[in-house]
Symmetry: C2
Subunit: 235 residues, 2 copies
């Protein structure tokens, strides 16, 4: 059986590429974004009562993967990238049906200019992610604090110290919302966003992460992470 | 954009029709069933490590709805069926993309006869439900006990007393697993499975619910529910 689905909305996010996106929702609460409903779903009626919920489920499409490329096993970053687990025992984006599932905080339901936008935070979604469904989070069914969670019992460690170069500090000060942006950058970098296969690379190498409209350039040293600069993105 | 998905598995459940199915997973923990992976997904590799998880997410297709029949608002049974909320503020099966989301308990991963079957419980899925994806439940991200949940802050009341007629008692005793079946029946009926628009019907009317291979016949009276008999299903 083959089933056809349509995109009901689209995510607007500070994360412009997969690199740097938190591996699960909620890990970087400072990550604010929005979910814009698309016609014909962008009618105020479709979200009546949603403001009573503090959290929502987003079912979305992992559209940055070449379709049809699933493998029976994957190597989760949590296991250092060298142990294989079954694709159905992972939340990997490379799945038979590339449907993602994220719970995010619902900050506000905005009905403006005849459209519907949900302001959300704690997101782990790339900018432009197509949305298939939105559901309210029901604590009495969805929350199972005592659930046993295999190799992922607790949140990944995010304890790297994040420092800013004098240049990066100046660049932040010149921006509107620079304070919030600084907190977001700290959240993104404190967990070392590098994929497992790059974690053995030497200190000093400068990495770039597309965030908002800039290229966040940073490096690791013996003390933690240093943000080098907020560069103009290379096109 | 239109997206194509394939069925990766199928649910085997005691619930043979929508009527009688609990409105959320976990409400009737006694409801045992299984999820059978279909080729080419039914390979032991796809579930390596899954046995370390106590719960899993099932993303499935609401296939008992005529497709394309969504409405911007729905009338949830929790609100007595006479108040409308937005479709995205509900877990109604009538949605733009009819994708369901259920967390169930994973009892056992069975690798037998070259296939893969997941034994599950606490299910709210109709027999034959097509499955799109399976994901491990990650308590540290998915469990938000303090989440505010609109009109559905707590589990629906399920406090009807369930009695069995002498005939029904005899029929249960003659069955293998009659004890477990009795507990399942009590779980299903204690919450009054009738849709909201039938709740005003008079006492005494006999209802039928297809469960396993029989037609469970029951009625309401001033004391609660009486199970009349386990009848052969009318074909």
């Amino acid at each position: 059986m083959t089933i056809q689905f349509e995109t009901i909305g689209i995510v607007h996010s500070p994360y412009k590429e997969k690199f740097g996106v938190p591996r699960q929702p909620g890990l970087v609460p400072q990550a604010h974004g929005s979910l814009e409903l698309l016609p014909p779903y962008n009618r105020a009626e479709t979200v009546i009562g949603l403001e009573g919920y503090s959290h929502i489920w987003i079912q979305f499409l992992f559209d940055r993967n070449p379709h049809g490329e699933w493998q029976p096993t994957v190597r989760p970053p949590r296991l250092g990238g060298n142990r294989r687990v079954g694709v159905f025992a992972s939340r990997s984006p490379f799945r038979p049906n590339p449907i993602g599932l994220s719970v995010v905080k619902l900050e506000r339901v905005a009905l403006e200019r005849g459209g519907v936008t949900l302001e959300i935070s704690g997101i782990d979604l790339v900018d432009g992610t197509p949305v298939l469904d939105i559901k309210p989070y029901l604590a009495y069914v969805d929350s199972i604090p005592e659930a046993r969670s295999g190799y992922a019992e607790s949140a990944p460690v995010a304890d790297l110290e994040v420092r800013f170069s004098p240049l990066a500090e100046r660049q932040l000060q010149q921006r509107q919302g620079g304070g919030a942006l600084k907190v977001l950058i700290e959240g993104v970098l404190a967990s070392d966003p590098r994929p497992a296969y790059r974690r053995s690379e030497q200190h000093g190498r400068v990495y770039g992460v597309r965030l908002h409209d800039f290229d966040l350039r940073w490096r690791l040293d013996e003390h933690g992470v240093e943000v080098v600069e907020l560069a103009s993105p290379a096109r």
